[in-house]
Amino acid sequence: MLAQSNADTTAVDTTEAEVKSPEVTSHQLAFSFDATQPFINSYSSVREGYEFAIDYYLHKELYLVLEGGWGSAHVNYTDLAYNSKNSYYAFGINKCLISRLTPNDWDMAFMGVRLAAAPIERTAGTYVVVDSFWGSSSGTIAAKNFVGVWAEITAGIRLELIKGFCVGWNIRGKFMLDGKSFKDLPPTYIAGYGKGDKGSVFDFNLYLTYAIRWRRQHPLSK
């Protein structure tokens, strides 16, 4: 009886070892876009942005991630007015933290890191300093082109609802690495980052994803 029990356990372990090696089964390339951005764009008169991501399964539950997007901000307050626009590019990795149930199980709970850069163009800005006693003063801030660089840590989940179609959520902590460029009228919105006048921001993405997969040629079959 005991011998039978040990044999069963060995059989289960062998199956799990096969499940933990998806690199011998498939490649996956996933295309995602942030579905929250069109909603925010539709009711915000200040900012517009679009964010996309591509990830590729490397091995041992590691994914190479490339992200990008573009956006603009249109500030027209009574005491401050300017426009800005930027694109952004980011790369990094995600590490899936949960075990697969089967080799074709691509559901994920993950953590990741990113390094991102954004070339930013800001037009000349006009300001008014309101002073009810001495009288208000106004002036112009010169236009500026500069590059913002930031790092991110992220965590999230991705669930495959229909074969190849997934939905995913990311939360992100973003930390501006070169704050000096942002001291003089940073844009109120930087696509990919968020509020330009904050040294660190918290952000959230809702991704709709389509994943394509193809079989990996087994090394022994060459």
Binding site: V129, F133, L161, W169, F204
Partner: protein
Amino acid sequence: MTKGDKRSITALLLLFSVAWLACTQTRQPCAQPKTVYVNAACYHVIADTGNVAIVADTLLPNPLIGVIDTAGKGALFYYGQRNIFQFSMFLNPNSDTCRWFINTDSTFTSKSFDTLTFVYQSKLQFLSNACGYTYYYNLLGVSTTHNNIDSIILENTNVTSNVNVEHLKIYIHPNF
């Protein structure tokens, strides 16, 4: 993960997404003061050994403190506040000098008023997109008359949004 689990997680996170979107505001309210102040405190010497002067806070019994505008007219900002020893003054961003008057008690005579004259440089300062711009100052000097004020010491020349800095020590005349 079962299909039921996926549906539950998806529904939960969609609700969170809606809440997140609802929290996104067009412009955050400005949560910091836009006017910066010169902070002053009053002292008097209670003992002088020749090498070391021992000083103590001086409470002004019923002071009148105000600004003298560019047309030479006064505007009162401290009136009816008894026994204060610290007070704050703001500067004119459209000029490089500014005058404030101080009467240490409300029973005043022509000899009880003193005038503080500030000489400074204004510096435009970005606060945030929510607050816009304001002015910070670099104090170049402060002078005073000597009716009830014995002397003044400029402790800190940078006038910023830091409210914890004491810029000016005002020594009240020992006979007051």
